[in-house]
Symmetry: C2
Subunit: 205 residues, 2 copies
DNA sequence: GTTGAAGTGGAAGTCGAATTCCGCTTCCGG
DNA sequence: CCGGAAGCGGAATTCGACTTCCACTTCAAC
């Protein structure tokens, strides 16, 4: 139910016209357009209403019938996974950008702030983080790897306490998303996190 | 659906034998016993599995039929509300205990730690906090009032930044519950919160 | 322009969980 | 110990999603 492809395009192929080597037929133009519309509509719908939106609402929003949804994604979950994958990819980019910054403490703070900001703008993202960190699936390897480095470097310069593991950080981001889902005050929350995460050395000797 | 009572006992009456003035008959002894069993079973079930437990599981756990559940609570939601109410009552007591402490900073910290600890021990509580702060319903007046005082006092001594409102704090607790639901490291999270919430005075000049 | 493979819409089917119903059982006042 | 009101169990019903199906439309190669 989560593995193999089924209809027009495997949900793992992310581009509009995934003309991979060996694909017998490139997918009809209008179909590709519809697939894109569905993805957009789904993203918008999840962003506004969270994961409880119904397939029919997404379909209406995209201006297609439910049948078309199911042609492209065998399952509601598959559709969600597709979006999750895209979000994760974006997150990996952000993490890479942070990793390119010279100061580890600054990089870490920037990543947290940026993530909080993105969450505030997208309820779907919030929910997904809740899920992902919620245990339904783990942080994808690519992202976990980046996060690990980010965290490690920050730890070395004392910007993050030593007893915070990647999975703790993951849980913390889950908490952040839950908080932000309730109030849009992401700046406050991000600041709190960054401060609270700092190693608890005696304040002022 | 949320207002009027229906069967044996209105879900608002919390005691086992709510022989309020005017109640024609005090409720049969075995019925009261069953009601209590149901409540216990429900609490345990929610604590273990979160809010997605099925009515039948609760019934089995309590050793009764689903009919008995519905005799006592017109709706699954009503049952949840009843438990939520009880949890909230406990929380008010905790808050009161905190309020009786002399040092506001210490009181605040103690309340946060205690809440985190309780959350760690009860997935049901966690979930409920998520819901309650999630907007489905607001913090009950009684608790909001206590929290407000706790927060205000802590603010005055600089243990909490000035720009944190009660509703922010509520959101933060929601986040805390989400984080704790994933890892049991409540001590770490509580410490982080307490530190992060502190007024951001310049560290060490 | 024709043709048939690909794609479409949305009514109908399925399925799981909440809720209802009712004949049988258990209390308890007299 | 009896009668009948109160309570009980759990099979049957309802309800609201997701998912399937298929007659019909659209595209694009020839």
């Amino acid at each position: 139910m989560t593995t193999t492809a089924q209809p027009g395009q495997p949900s793992a192929a992310r581009s509009l016209r995934p003309v991979l080597a060996g694909a017998p037929r490139p997918m009809r133009g209008d179909a590709a357009r519809n697939r894109a519309r569905v993805l957009d509509a789904a993203r918008a719908a999840f962003a506004e209403d969270g994961a409880e939106v119904q397939m029919e609402q997404i379909a209406r929003r995209a201006g297609v019938g439910v049948g078309t949804l199911y042609r492209n994604f065998p399952t509601k979950q598959a559709l969600i996974n597709e979006l999750a994958q895209r979000w994760m990819d974006e997150r990996v980019e952000i993490a890479d950008e942070a990793l390119s910054m010279p100061d580890p403490a600054e990089a870490f703070g920037w990543f947290v702030r940026r993530t909080a900001e993105d969450m505030a703008g997208d309820a779907g993202l919030c929910h997904m983080f809740g899920e992902v960190s919620g245990g339904n699936c783990d942080l994808p390897d690519l992202l976990a790897e980046r996060t690990d480095i980010l965290l490690e470097r920050a730890r070395e310069v004392g910007a993050v306490r030593a007893d915070v593991s990647v999975s703790d950080f993951q849980a913390i981001l889950g908490g952040l998303s839950a908080a932000i889902a309730q109030t849009e005050k992401w700046e406050l929350f991000a600041e709190m996190l960054i401060t609270g995460l700092r190693a608890p050395a005696a304040p002022c000797p």
